[in-house]
Amino acid sequence: MRLPPQPGERLDRAQEVTFMFCGKPVRAFQGDTFGSALFAGGQRIFSRSFKYHRPRGLLCCSGACPNCMMTVDGIPNVRVCAEPVRDGANVQPQNVWGSLDRDLLAVTDKFGGPFTPVGFYYRTMIRPRRAWPLYEKFLRNVAGLGRIDKHGARRGRYDVEHRRAEALVVGASEAGIARAKELAGQGRQVVLVDENSDVAPVEGADVVAPGRALGIWEGGLVPVDGGNVLYRYRAETIVVATGSVEQPLAFPGNDLVGIMLPESVRRLVEDWAIRPGKRAVVITADETGRESAQLLRKAGVEICGVYDLRRERIREIVAKGRKGILRSVEIDGRRVACDLLVMSGGRQPAYSLLAQAGARVEYDDSTGVFVPTEIPDGIEAVGSVTGEGIGAAIPAATYNGASGQGKCFVCVCEDVTDKDLKRAISEGFDSIELAKRYTTVTMGPCQGRLCHLPSIRVYARENESDASSIGTTTARPPWGPVTLGVLAGRPHEPAQRTSIHHRHKELGARMMWTGTWRRPYSYGDIEGEVQSVHGAVGVIDVSTLGKLLIVGSEAAEFLERLYPNRFGDMKTGRIRYGVLNTDAGRIMDDGTIARLADDSYYVTTTSTGAGAVVEWFEWWNAVWGMDAQIVDVTGALAAVNVAGPRARDLMQRLTDLDVSNEALSYLDAKHARVAGIPSLILRIGFVGELGYEIHFASPYGEYLWDTILERGADLGIRPFGLEPQRVLRLEKMHILVGQDTDSESNVIDANMPWIVKLDKDDFVGKWALEHAQARGPRELLVGFEMENGRVPPEGGQVVLSQRRPVGRVTSARWSPELRKVIGMAWVPPEIAHDGAQFFVTIDGGFDKAFVRLRPFFDPDGERLRS
């Protein structure tokens, strides 16, 4: 079928390329596409349609329709009509059970019609409900087009690049190139993008091809898919030169193999020197059809008839074939034998990008197509996308859908016939937006390029209105298919690591996420780590704590307005535990507040709450304007907690500071050099043993950690992770905000009423706490211990003897020190007294638990204060 060399052909006949198709080698020339080479070799059926599995052949040859989609080198849904050949490539058909010639699923075409009307999935395969897993399996196997290799390693690499352009021209059409040259001549920085790869250089402009513009977003943002790189362009001026799309005609049998649009004919003959058929009929509603006829004649094709719908009144067109291949067409009953039918229903401007940018879309009665109007500022439209040069086209060819004559397709992507559209309208889906969603017309790979206008025409006829009142559906990005990979780019998942992070890994810690922080869960021996804190000394990296400095003459008042606590009466060098509330009196965060000077406080927050607390403080002070500087030093400082009966011995080896109990008491804060590094030492007790939290400049994290482990070696020091820390704090009944509290919990119900100083001036959440106190608690947070050794799940139900759930478990652990299971739970006030009994659901059973109000370990805090 190859013609002799054509003027301007894209083939390099000196360079031969071979690829495989269905296991057989196919010869091609450089400049061919896979599709053109297959066609030249005699292949006519390129795919099977979505629902009915009807044979489909080349229709548009320009990447608009779905007919030529195949899997190339494992990548599905490649439009082979546009994909340049590659030597050694492996091309396979898709969506077939069997082969392209004999697809077993074609039974749906013959018999499935009644079972697969429009919207069938809302009506069929629902009962019996038990059979759904079977239906689902079947549907999953027949749905979709291509298949992806689920076990394939990530192919290639995708990057995102942010670029700027003074003028971005979308579409290397004649009009686009002309405008690009014009703008470049004016000295603008011009970028020209086109979805095809064969674009010649343009003087003065930066050409990106292939580069498919996906859409236009606010701020002149146009992401351009360059295959492996997503170019995110921000352009001052965007020129849309996306041209227009040839429209099919709707008549029974209009999807037969051998029916083509004029562009197909032009490309096959002129670009790839291929004769598309032997006997051709042309039915056209505009001039392009006539041009195709001339081209075909020159290529040696017999023209059996040219029907110009602008001049002739034709009532009925029916295409007929055998096994899906065109054999003849009947025009008003007169049969003409042919193997090629060129149809042209006019050219619809590809206005999608313009519509996305805010342009209006209106029906032009003179041309019978929709054109963009009211182009917004910063955007230009040039070429046939504006509707210019389209020429008068009659919305021609009746959609008679005569029964028994064959299916008349409005949407070849989704196999939607005109009968389907009529049925949808009669069922009540009579607006274009509703009908689109119900029938799925325009929702396939062509995204409306070939079916939006035809479907509107059917609508207008059925509803007895006109196309302009029907309107168009909303244009949305992406304008063309785009891989998720290129949208995702590189996996940029921020992770925060402390300056001691690598030491944890070197010690074999199992790391976990706490928010976006990486933290050590444990070093492999949770019980051992817990016991080393009780029996000797342990060290934990708490650098993730949020840390703030509040500095200024109104620092104390500022904090008193934010917290329910009182801070103004704190002495310099003392620490208090504070709980931050929302303005609805709910617990937001907790931490320590140390007074460094009259006008300086050092505040810590939870690890995951730091950002929110900083924002909260800054937001309130933007309103109050108090003399209180807020400085986020979370990353500036690392922090470690050394805890255990031998912690003081260790501290004596690390600092010259007097660390006796009298000089550095519980809840004291002091500056000192620790291992030569200026530090702030906070003597606090989250884990319940004698402990010191050392805050110091981050870059010395590893140095201080190493020094501590070294100097504490003979004291039996062990690092401990987050999980042992959780056990230890639970033994002391210390809450974890977000674990033991939720968005409804307040400080009073959480059993910390002593924190709230209602006699203070107004503070955030005061009114709510006054209410809570007056109303009395609806539930209370208490500790509990289990009668037996089973650990209840977090969230486990608390039930009383009537088996009614009345509360929930928030934390529960086995305590190696106490040799029992302990936990915390929200319970009704009636049972919130020591020794009260309740049940907890575990594994479908009910285990007995006893309420404990005082800390399980060292309830009087003697070890803490030692």
Partner: protein, 168 residues
């Protein structure tokens, strides 16, 4: 006041700590096989300055404006102490030398793979791979980035990966 905040300043560690090369950068491990043009500049002085920052004369240090009364001052590490004391006479100064890590990069295209900040209007603060970063430009192809040190390892990995992507 500066004594109270001495624990922020890495340059105030004792001489034996300094000689032990105790100061570590969070970028070290990720930059072990750093490509050419990617340099760890974490060891530098960074001071957050609050007050009438228009008065900063930028003599011997760089200034990144952060707001009407806030700026980040960047200087040579050895000069941090002196500059901190001098600026404390007129401004509120908080030492962020340990808080921020730094990277020097070469290549505008590399920068375009990392951020959508307008590279013609630097210095500025913006997002680089989702991390709030201070970005300075020394010449057409040389950029300096400063960002929270806890994201150092992550950002260094991102940069090394981006360089690799460009090399393909």
């Amino acid at each position: 006041m500066s004594e109270m905040f001495a624990f922020l300043s890495p340059d105030l560690a004792s001489p034996d700590v300094a000689s032990a090369s105790a100061w570590r950068s969070s970028l070290e491990r990720a930059l072990q096989h750093a490509p050419a043009g990617v340099i760890d500049i974490s060891l530098s002085g960074k001071l957050e300055v609050r007050g009438d920052v228009d008065e900063l004369d930028a003599k011997g240090y760089d200034v990144v404006p952060l707001g009407p009364e806030r700026a980040l001052v960047i200087c040579d590490f050895t000069k941090t102490g002196r500059l901190r004391d001098k600026l404390s006479e007129t401004f509120l100064v908080f030492d962020m030398s340990g808080a921020l890590a730094g990277l020097q990069l070469r290549g505008e295209t590399l920068m375009r793979r990392l951020t959508d900040l307008d590279l013609e209007t630097l210095p500025a603060v913006g997002s680089v791979a989702h991390v709030r970063t201070y970005v300075l430009r020394d010449d057409a192809e040389t950029f300096r980035l400063f960002f929270p040190q806890e994201y150092g390892h992550y950002l260094a990995e991102v940069v090394v990966d981006a360089v690799e992507g460009l090399a393909r």
